[in-house]
Symmetry: C2
Subunit: 633 residues, 2 copies
């Protein structure tokens, strides 16, 4: 086994068998997007490919065995991520059908909707997921579509009261779906019980749009040409009472509303909580796309020469310091996020297999998934963009794939909600845990309390936490710049920054809790960039810990050593990016700070000889990269 095999095994994680299977099966399917197809042909092609996925078992994996599924949530997410390495249109269409639509039926429906699951797995039933409205992107709780119960006919009347209530950007809506999972305000007996999800037939078997349903086509987008995104408006559309996905709220024949969760907010967030797998898939898929782009740029840097000394062969791009600074930190981040992603997929898998999932762990997973989704999709955008630039004019040709990836990945930063909203969600969750612990204490008491206990509330008790504490405890004291190479020092800097940001944010927002209306909004709004920082710092810390834990699990010593170098580059590059904060808050002295860039540069030079190993370790086989320029030489 080569070193790159060992690295890849560490990175592949627990569902390595799924990755290996996908690498073979998907490579045989010729999935590369064809830009010569017109919009209709491209959509039909992607639908055909979707049918081709059914026999792989990946679609079924996401559903529980008692519903005819494979009962392997980890496999479902890993399978989606692998699709993303081949074709993001197909990944999105699969995510819409089996993840969002199928997920809604399974997680929000009850016994009476179970028969649909085998049909939707097999694509006998193609659905869409009609949540987002034109006027209400991230603010789902206040969407306008209504579903009003009519006890006389035992039907719900689904209606879009205004143009801004139109559902938009809905995958599968423009052409292929026959049914929509529609989020609407449930109204019965004149009372609004908040957002619920309803199955609304939108096309008949011949594909004709049903009466009262108005379908629009979003047509061309920045990418994802194989996905038929569209608009849906409903004009007094009647559906049977039983089409309500009634797990979290039901309406009896006579119109009586009932729910296992009394509080309307808590009910709403419980429903949304079922979406966590989608969020994890979106982040993981973006990361997979970044892995493809960095594999292309990494290999190009090892074959492309430019400039050099008179009379000598030109210098490889990979040997320029600047190119190392552009490429290697992104590669290190990809490694880091992969370990974090694998960790969260494992946790999600464990929770979703449990009969009684722990509510606290569920909430933590949701918050973290939101944060990782934001950071990983931004990383993907940046990595793909930089990869394109690193390949110059050649990178701009579609035949070298980077621009296709770029166009496709663009929307991932606002999929599942704008990334800034995602980070605020995470911060809110962090502050909520925090507030629970510190609630009711006066400011001075709080500071004391914080000093004593926040370390524990911030750092969860992961399997690796003892290791991490040991590393922190072993960190050398004192001000030598080389301390920054010490993992314990890095871990403690990351943890300390997060704590400080959360504590100070909490203090600012406590004032808002006592204020009213305008004033409360002003306090919150003033702190908004602070909250975003909390979320980022949390993700950085979680990622560094996941990387550290991943290295500890790596059984090959040589691979572990290389991963340690990569981890150091990751940590230093995060520190360099936020150096002003560490300096202004006296965490890093001016003297040490000056050395950070030099330290990082040295680490990059040490990593340079391993570039090919690291690219191979990403696990995207060269023959599936689909970049013409790499084949030419």
């Amino acid at each position: 086994m080569t070193l790159s095999d060992e690295v890849r095994i560490a990175l592949d994680g627990k569902w390595r068998h799924v990755r290996e299977q996908s690498r073979t099966e998907l490579a045989a399917m010729e999935l590369a997007y064809d830009l010569d197809l017109d919009i209709d042909a491209a959509r039909e092609r992607t639908l055909r490919q979707l049918h081709g996925l059914v026999p792989t078992g990946v679609p079924a994996a996401g559903f529980r065995t008692e519903h005819g599924g494979g009962g392997d949530p980890g496999m479902a997410v890993t399978g989606i991520e692998m699709l993303a390495q081949f074709d993001l249109s197909l990944m999105v269409k699969a995510g819409v059908q089996w993840g969002l639509f199928g997920g809604a039926v399974e997680n929000l429906g009850t016994e009476r909707h179970r028969d649909l699951i085998p049909r939707l797995i097999e694509l006998d039933l193609v659905g869409c997921y009609a949540m987002t409205e034109i006027g209400h992107g991230s603010n789902v709780q206040h969407l306008e579509t209504t579903a009003t119960y009519d006890a006389e006919t035992q039907e719900f009347v689904v209606d879009s009261p205004t143009p801004s209530a139109t559902k938009d950007y809905i995958g599968n809506a423009a052409a292929h779906a026959t049914v929509a999972a529609v989020y609407a305000q449930l109204v019965t007996r004149g009372e609004n019980h908040g957002v619920h999800c309803f199955l609304v037939p939108i096309r008949d078997d011949q594909g004709q749009v049903l009466e009262g349903v108005e379908v629009g086509d979003d047509r061309h987008k920045g990418g994802l040409g194989g996905v038929d995104n569209g608009r849906l408006a409903f004009h007094q559309v009647r559906i049977p009472r039983v089409n309500l996905l009634n797990k979290y709220g039901d309406v009896a024949e006579d119109g009586t509303y009932s729910s296992p969760i009394d509080d309307v907010n808590r009910r709403f967030f419980s429903m949304l909580g079922t979406l966590v797998r989608g969020r994890i898939s979106v982040g993981g898929s973006a990361l997979a796309a970044a892995e493809v782009a960095l594999s292309i740029a990494g290999r190009y840097a090892l074959q492309r020469r430019q400039f050099g000394q008179e009379g000598e062969p030109e210098v490889l791009l990979a040997d320029y310091r600047l190119h190392q600074r552009r490429l290697l930190p992104l590669l290190a981040r990809s490694y880091a996020y992969r370990f974090a992603q694998n960790q969260q997929v494992s946790r999600m898998d464990r929770l979703q297999r449990a009969t009684e999932p722990d509510a606290q762990q569920q909430r933590e997973l949701e918050g973290r998934a939101a944060g990782l989704k934001a950071i990983m999709t931004w990383h993907a955008s940046r990595a793909i963009n930089e990869s394109r630039e690193m390949c110059g004019g050649a990178g701009y040709l579609a035949e070298n794939r980077l621009t296709v990836l770029r166009g496709d990945i663009d929307v991932f930063t606002t999929f599942e909600g704008d990334n800034h909203v995602m980070l605020q969600l995470l911060s809110k969750e962090l502050l909520t845990s925090y507030a629970k612990e510190v609630g009711g204490l006066d400011p001075f008491g709080m500071v004391r309390f914080v000093a004593e206990t926040v370390a524990d509330t911030v750092r969860e008790r992961t399997a690796a936490s003892q290791l991490i504490q040991r590393l922190i405890d072993a960190a050398p004291a004192g001000g030598d710049a080389h301390d920054l190479l010490d993992r314990g020092t890095q871990l403690s800097l990351f943890e300390d920054r997060e704590q400080h940001l959360i504590e100070t944010a909490a203090r600012r927002l406590q004032r808002a809790a006592k204020a009213k209306g305008e004033e409360a909004f002003r306090i919150f709004n003033d702190a908004q960039d602070h909250l975003i920082r909390c979320g980022r710092a949390h993700v950085d810390r979680v990622v560094l810990e996941a990387f550290t834990a991943g290295i500890a699990r790596c059984e090959d010593e040589e691979a572990a050593d290389l991963l340690r170098q990569v981890c150091t580059v990751y940590a230093l590059s995060v520190i360099e990016d936020d150096l002003a904060w560490f300096m202004a808050h006296n965490r890093i002295s001016d003297q040490r700070a000056k050395a950070v860039t030099q330290l990082l540069n040295e680490q990059l030079a040490e990593l340079r000889p391993h570039l090919l190993t690291l690219v191979e370790g990403l696990g995207v086989p060269e023959e599936t990269l689909g970049a013409a320029m790499l084949l030419k030489q």
Copy 2:
């Protein structure tokens, strides 16, 4: 006249009449790119549009009156920038034909090539500009194509000896050009005299490719679908001796080489120097595209509401602090770069009208154009990307234009050479001026010398320099954070950072001057990121000075006040981005540094009420934005 009119007038600059004319004429041409066209139809459409531009006089403006042109270089560049506000494919195709191809004929040719100019202005002759080779993107000096003189037939034999010598990414090559301006190593009597430019016919009047010419098609790209980029390889293609564009080097009938410039390096850079207008156009066009994107995102932020307090209308995006932080600094940068761009267009215009242009000013212009091109194209990429994100799912629909802009602008960061190469070019130029002044002094002497005189070498004697010096002299001393709002303080921070970076880079590279081979490369390579920083810092300083000078020229007091606020946001946002450097080098104390973000946030809140004025001031009329979502509400 409204305030936004006054602001727009200040921003429009000297060629405001050209902008006003283009706004009307181009709006009437229906230029928006049509994604439903296949690749051939899209190219033909853009060619037709190109013909539509001829009567506007903009194409002729770039050529000297004695050659049948309009003799207005400033108008030529401004006209190209305005095209970029409407359709970047058309802008690129115009730039290839009249800027690059036409520019080569006019600036590298002599009397014997003059007859071609009226023909190429009228599109009676369509050409392409065959410089870049697959194996040699930015390293033009070492391209492989040869043009070997055969005295027997008085012909040059043009040849691509290897596949990597193939010209690639050449606009107009795949379909429309009948002649190529080909850069090749000129060989006569067995001696290589370096790169020269030759006119090589590639198609006959019927569009058939000529013998010995091999044409490839680059097909789909990340954007710019209206431009027919292609590949050209030459197999012993014979052209008449007079097809050499012979201004900087000629071959007599008997094969004798002669040139007005003896030194081969200096000759090469003199030829490249004629390209400065292209570089200025690329940067300015990218800026124009950013203006469109920010106009769309800015207007969207003023109509789109999301979240808010229970029972109240939702809050406008523009009222969120985070949205202000995302949008307003980009808007401020666009304003700042516009002033800098206008300034450099004026200088270019003056130099290119002169009969004996000042060589030193020419070199300065070239260096600065390279740096501004890098910074402005990156800014455009970022601004368009962020604008897309700020518009969420709607931003991803092609009908809202942002993704089309994004795809088109992507390649601008590597047009005319990779941006990092551009910044190194600038830094080299800065260090060369520096080295001339300090050459030969010992290190201690140098430091003294630096302290006394570098201020003058760094800061050119612009018309505004007295004003700038006055502002710097009036800057308050001492450590109060509010100093950072003082323009003099900002100017002096920017200037001081640049000086420090150049001095320290010079000291590092002086060691390389004495070293040899490997060791010299290592020293240079180690300093590469330092050099890039020099270039960036120089551009930041030049931009702030141009903004300051632009405000001084603004005659409307209210508009000038608003521009001052925008300038402050620009300066603070640059300082915030490089805060770690200012702290580590004791330019800003930890205490003051902590206040920077808060100061910037306050400035953003003060700018918020003027958002619509600032968007309107960009001068992209609402009806030409071409974003469907803005018309819906």
